[in-house]
Symmetry: C2
């Protein structure tokens, strides 16, 4: 059966699918076009069937029927769903995570809070290859407060190293902020080591987990990370623009203050008292009225990861990406492609980037042929491998198409 | 037919309903319990039937079926729905309004932008009776930036006057911020006169339109207001926690900068370029990824106001509140109640507050008897009169119940 050992026909992919302990999860999602190969769950995850159902309940029965009285059960949803994310996805403790606002706004809140807690320090360290919104927020804070952003020039494939961070650190640095998984390369940064370096230098570590949540075992508690934010519409399948999460390590909750003091962060919210008296704990990081149906969708997405088990999710992601790398090496390397993601599987998240000078054209051609991926400047095709919905057969089909297109 | 001229039986209410040109709109909303009298549309508006339907399309077909490709049509929704609100609800111009974030976050963005545009000035003027989240945000900004909040002590029923504002103004004031309609009393502030006073003093005017949008003819363009935010889940019926709107007068768009620089405010968002290059116009006030289903719900709510016509909506609100005041005067005044809203109908929004020493207990009793209102500290029962869904018969029933409960 030598044929099955080499990725030249889909039989091996089918065998991998047959052996996949998570294969049953795909049926829990809406698959309207069974011929579509969707390798973009790292941009927008698929719709869980349970979410569609629960949204109908929230909209038709709770909003439509219970009206304002439904707030009795809605009011603690940001904390309740945060608690589910903490345990099922993030490896954090109850009371350390909320669902609130967008990743951008949460990142702003935490970055500014950290800066305000280190008033004598004037620098922020981040990676030139970090996700744009994080970089833009930092630029805005730097401009407004006369601070300096120290840019790490990380390796475009392997991402920032502890040495990169160490070289940027001194006692002027208030915050070190990186993505755990790079949005383009999927490189995983060494969160424990970097968080520890930051702390030793008297700075806070602030992590963007957008491309990690629902794809890796993050272990926030063990990692020593101080602060984190992340997106719920990728591997957590929360839907377009679903609210983000925000994490503040328990020991820092008294020291750091939410700079956007809204009524949902007020201790006795409906007393509507004369002065801001911030709620204790993680609730003080809420701002305005949370978007209830969207948080409920996050809850359903998180439940699926909880049910699958994050260790199984991570194992599936690793197997999918290893298979994609193998197909790249066998088929694409000779056609002018190169791998844009780390070769070391323990340093690679749940997508694989392949680089090609004509990546944009190839991505567009793939989409026309029914394989949805995305292009990232300057030359990456990202193949998103969503552990609950992507099959090995999807990977095979996507890479085979890329081979055919790239060889033409 | 003298009976019909006096509010002693529901016949007069029924005659008013029969003559109401907007009476047909009630059938456009989900009414799951026809016996429920809902006088709390100023806290959470009812569910439009079209919204339930459109949410199913957005979730099941667009998210579930089109997946990431749906972003082609979603991407400009915050501006597109903002344009509808501008013309149908706010009296603003296209390109002056977006739908984005929460009222709290939008208020923070605009207040801070205004402060940063007046760096030499150290004071902000607002009303002690302003809505809590606005006050709390200002307190936070003041604390963080060493500013001073100057509190207007307005009349608890009639709200802040131009004289109140004038007395608080000098050349240290950067921003004057008030609610157009007070959340407790429904008092309408004189937006044109106060905006003009602020401008003459070199300060920006920033208006919270939460209790006005979808209930009044706001006329932002004519009013001279500089900046505004507001809520969409009250009279605009956008659903629990639906995203808020934000308005920046065209002439100020070059001068003021969004302090939360996110990727949705970037000119060429998907180039993911190295530096923030803000989008031109109102789009630069976006932050992170907008919550698409929630914005679509705002669109549907705004469509209904558009169809009804804001002048008709205002006329209905005025008629409902006049009727509530009349019933208060006839039934409640002798029972220890007093009117907590302005008597002058041109100075009163779309809810009516009645005050009573036992307001909390009475509100709870009303809810038990199937009339939903809400209590606001220290002694107000708010009767929300949502022009598209509240009938005169609802007002009659609510006030009659209050009479019976208050007389007991």
């Amino acid at each position: 059966m030598a044929m099955l050992d080499r990725p030249v026909d889909p039989a091996r992919a089918e065998a991998l699918d047959a052996a996949d302990p998570l294969r049953g999860f795909r049926a829990r999602f809406a698959i309207r076009d069974p011929d579509l190969v969707y390798l973009d769950g790292n941009s927008l995850g698929r719709l869980p069937l349970a979410t569609a159902e629960r949204l109908r309940t929230v909209v038709d029965e709770e909003w439509g029927g219970d009206l304002i009285r439904a707030w009795d059960s809605w009011l603690d949803l940001p904390v309740r769903v945060g608690t589910r994310l903490a345990s099922a996805v993030l490896g954090a403790r109850p009371g350390e995570v909320i669902v609130s606002d967008s990743t951008t706004v949460n990142f702003y809140k935490l970055a500014l809070a950290a800066l305000e807690a280190r008033p004598g320090r004037r620098s922020v360290v981040t990676d030139r290859a970090n996700f744009p919104t994080d970089r833009y927020v930092l630029e805005g804070l730097a401009r407004s407060r006369g601070l300096k952003v120290r840019w790490i020039e990380s390796d475009p494939v392997d991402g920032p190293t502890t040495a990169d961070v160490e070289a940027a650190l001194d006692d002027d640095v208030a915050v070190v902020t990186l993505s755990l998984v790079n949005y383009r390369s999927a490189a995983i940064a060494d969160m424990p080591a970097i968080s520890s370096l930051a702390r030793a230098a008297g700075a806070f570590s602030l992590w963007d987990l957008s491309h990690a949540a629902g794809a890796l075992e993050i272990g926030l508690q063990e990692s020593g990370a101080d602060l984190a934010v992340g997106c719920t519409y990728k591997y957590l399948n929360g839907g377009p623009g679903s609210p983000a999460f925000l994490y503040v390590r328990t020991v820092l909750q008294a020291e750091l203050r939410n700079p956007i003091q809204g009524w949902f962060g007020q201790r006795d919210q409906f007393a509507m008292g004369p002065a801001y008296d911030r709620a204790s704990g993680i609730r003080s990081w809420l701002t305005g009225t949370p978007t209830i149906p969207a948080i409920v969708a996050v809850d359903e997405g998180a439940r699926l990861v909880e049910e699958a088990g994050i260790a199984n999710v991570r194992a599936k992601a690793a197997a999918l990406s290893a298979y994609a790398v193998e197909l790249h090496d066998n088929w694409l390397a000779r056609l002018g492609f190169s791998l844009g993601s780390p070769r070391n599987p323990t340093r690679r998240g749940a997508h694989v980037a392949v680089r090609h000078p004509e990546a944009r054209r190839l991505t567009e051609a793939m989409i026309r042929h029914g394989v949805v991926t995305d292009f990232r400047e300057p030359d990456s095709i990202r193949l998103g491998l969503s552990p609950l919905t992507t099959s090995f057969r999807d990977v095979w089909t996507g890479l085979a198409l890329l081979r055919d297109l790239g060889g033409g």
